[in-house]
Subunit: 310 residues, 2 copies
């Protein structure tokens, strides 16, 4: 069993590669749900959906989120009713939120709901919400605290970040499914997701770090920063705002103590010695994932390297 | 104040005509909610929506229901999840059901929700659900009882009808808004809706017939049957199945005692004497409504005739 930790777009890309490389049924992806939000009474889990659509082969490869070829007629109709429409819910995408909301309303856990939705889309990997309790990432900014999607989508991640809070996390706990995945993992992969916004909420679930440290499997992280910039999203700005070095080394320092090895891009080759000095083995390879082939290749090399096969 | 009783498509057409003819704010439409259903956890009120979209000027004039130019991408995505997709929910239409479900979930009454949605679409008439309690029309057929939309949409109204039940109606009561409308009405118009499926559920609300009989305003019904056939839907088959004469006279007999006057189509001119013999004044005019002009003209003539002005 290979267990990946992932957030949205970057995580979904590597998860897709892992899904192609790992024997069917032997991949579990633990996904951030701190980004979840309720809009129009619907429960939306953006990161779970991004990973699910990606593994189901229906993801929009241009935007990175949402469904290929999706349309936005319902959203326009919501706007006609005077509702806010800054969160890009596609028509096909809405089907997911409608069914999730219905099943949660019937008392099913988010884990059970996600299992059902993913199975119905033909996904043969375990998509595991980080927990079944509601945790809400709150971004502290000079103008005050912002709910995550307000910061990220509505305001375009343009605010300076003073800190992060994960509201409700003190009541969260790892699900039996997450516990089982971590107890049977042969390899743990931290996908190139935002370490603060995507990975930190997962690690903030009480008990999760303990499960990780008990797990004897090798652990590897893939840098979401290439050449001092985030491939996508505000990871570079968060490094700066939160007082870290804005580089792949800065990311590696965050993961030191948690992983044994670290994957960086060829353009950051000169960082390798500093990262090795943190006690990490370093794989230097092409980490930018554009094509399906890129995703598979990065997954293959990451697995082999982390397992000591190259 | 003019008060109309209406179901879906036929009712929406005359309601549109009345809305154009009556001074703004002086039309109330009491609408059947026995057709309401829950799908995918969403509360759908097909007749309320058909009337609302019609008055808002966004109705689909070809189908008679739904929104002009609507698309069905969310429905296809629901089908991809393995959900039933025989009920034609458009993408724009979904916005209505999503918002209605949210507001009902917050504890608002269907009357309050309908007022809000209609106002946001710019509708200046009062759209009044027949009651705020859940009433479900059940159609008794040789194969057993069918929920209304199973009978009507899924099975195309093809079953022989042995009888109708309005489940939950014993707990229903007229809303304060319906009471007020009926106490201030200067004219009551029964739109050319199906008398069994659209009007009977409204009249079955305990207390409603009493309010009607206390109301001194003239009352008029427009025949949904022309030349022995329903303009649309199964009204003619229900007349036959339930032992009535399949004609505009058969409809008039149902309304006798409830209304003072009755509007029939020119092709049914020969029925006028028999209907007059029931004690009803009869207006013979063009009742088929295709264009907006047809709807306004029928509304204008119906009002004038019922008020004794022609």
């Amino acid at each position: 069993m290979i267990v990946a930790f992932a957030g949205g777009v970057g995580g979904a890309k590597l998860a897709f590669g892992l899904y192609q490389e790992v024997p069917l049924g032997e991949l579990a992806v633990i996904v951030n749900t701190g980004d979840d939000l309720e809009m129009y009474g619907l429960h939306i889990s953006p990161d779970l959906d991004t990973v699910m659509y990606s593994l189901a082969g229906i993801a929009n490869h241009i935007t990175g989120w949402g469904i290929e070829g999706d349309t936005f007629y319902a959203l326009k109709a919501l706007a006609r009713y005077g509702e806010e429409s800054w969160f890009g819910l596609g028509d096909q995408d809405l089907a997911t939120h409608i069914l999730r909301t219905k099943m949660l309303g019937e008392g099913q856990s988010l884990t059970a709901v996600t299992r059902s939705l993913a199975a119905r889309l033909g996904v043969k990997a375990s998509l595991l919400p980080m927990c079944d309790q509601r945790v809400a990432t709150v971004v502290e900014t000079p103008g005050g605290p912002l709910p995550f999607q307000d910061y990220f989508v509505r305001r375009g991640a343009s605010d300076r970040v003073l800190g992060l809070r994960f509201e409700g996390v003190e009541r969260a706990k790892p699900t039996p499914e997450v516990e089982r995945a971590l107890s049977t993992a042969e390899l743990i992969v931290f996908a190139p997701s935002n370490p603060f916004l995507s990975i930190q909420p997962i690690l903030a679930v009480p008990g999760l770090r303990g499960l990780l440290s008990k797990c004897p499997a090798p652990k590897v992280a893939v840098s979401p920063v290439i050449g001092g910039r985030a491939v996508r999203g505000p990871a570079d700005r968060l490094l700066r705002d939160l007082g870290h070095e804005v580089s792949t080394f800065g990311v590696a320092k965050i993961y030191a103590g948690l992983v044994n090895s670290f994957v960086i891009d060829e353009v950051d080759r000169q960082e390798a010695p500093r990262i090795e000095a943190l006690g990490l083995r370093v794989l230097v390879t092409k980490t930018l994932m554009n094509s399906a082939e890129d995703k598979k290749e990065l997954a293959r090399r990451t697995i082999r390297f982390a397992l000591g096969k190259e």
